[in-house]
């Protein structure tokens, strides 16, 4: 799946509009993912996953920062996320199917907080972008 110039522009604009809220969105996306897809909790046995968990919020900020980094370097997501890609391949080894689940939850958060932002075209572009990020993060798995 290739990001068209229109996709790239939609993604950058979307993150621009989301602005500083993105950190909060990261946390909420994780919270939703743990609720909707309990199997994803298996990757966080060392975390307190209760409501309002500071660890989840902290991790959400990290995830959000990575997405922003990818959006800011959208012409070379693989380059921008290369270290994260190594980390996921060598250490974390999160099964690839889970990136789609987090992507779905991130879109739900964006939709719930910014219905006007998420037009069908922007939804499509963001979905493609999140897929591309997932692909990069699992690219070195084998």
């Amino acid at each position: 799946m290739v990001l068209s110039p229109a996709d790239k522009s939609n993604v950058k604009a979307a993150f621009g509009k989301i602005g500083g809220h993105v950190e909060e969105y990261g946390g909420e996306a994780l919270e939703r993912m743990f609720a909707a897809y309990p199997q994803t909790k298996t990757y966080f046995p060392h975390f307190d996953l209760g409501k309002g968990s500071a660890q989840v919020k902290g991790h959400g900020k990290k995830v959000a920062a990575a997405l922003v980094e990818a959006a800011n370097h959208i012409d070379d997501i693989a380059g921008a996320l290369s270290k994260l890609s190594d980390l996921h391949a060598q250490k974390l080894r999160v099964d690839p199917v889970n990136f789609k689940l987090l992507g779905q939850c991130f879109l739900v958060v964006v939709a719930a907080h910014n219905p006007a932002l998420l037009t069908p075209e922007v939804h499509a572009s963001l979905d493609k972008f999140l897929c591309a990020v997932g692909t990069v993060l699992t690219a070195k798995y084998r």
Partner: protein, 116 residues
């Protein structure tokens, strides 16, 4: 779904103009079909204890006549959830989403159940 996952348009050749997001959003056949699908979903909600039974005839139809890959039911379910989130905002809580993700998965499974 038709915009975000354009390959799903393959089932709707008879719908006329699907050439752009604007065309899709304004297409009366798309709107009518959306209404049909959601009405069907509401049947599931009314029959939560017997969803497989409720959808058995529709499942046979989707297999034998419509030839729809069940993966498409999952795509539609996920898209529906995002639409709900956009409409209900904060009221679409994580617990609400979790329940709906289960429901769409169960409906997708029921629609695929009679496939052979």
């Amino acid at each position: 779904m038709l915009i975000v996952y354009p390959w799903t348009q393959r089932f709707f050749a008879s719908f006329g103009n699907l050439s752009s997001p604007t065309a899709i959003v304004g297409n009366p056949k798309v709107q009518a079909h959306g209404k049909k699908v959601l009405t069907s979903f509401s049947e599931a909600v009314k029959n939560l204890d017997s969803i497989k039974k409720c959808f058995a005839p529709l499942s046979k139809l989707h297999c034998e006549k419509l030839h729809v890959d069940p993966e498409n039911f999952r795509l539609l379910g996920d898209t529906l959830i995002i639409v709900l989130a956009a409409h209900f905002g904060k009221d679409f809580t994580p617990d609400c989403q979790a329940a709906w993700q289960k429901l769409v998965r169960v409906v997708a499974h029921a629609l695929a159940h009679e496939y052979h």
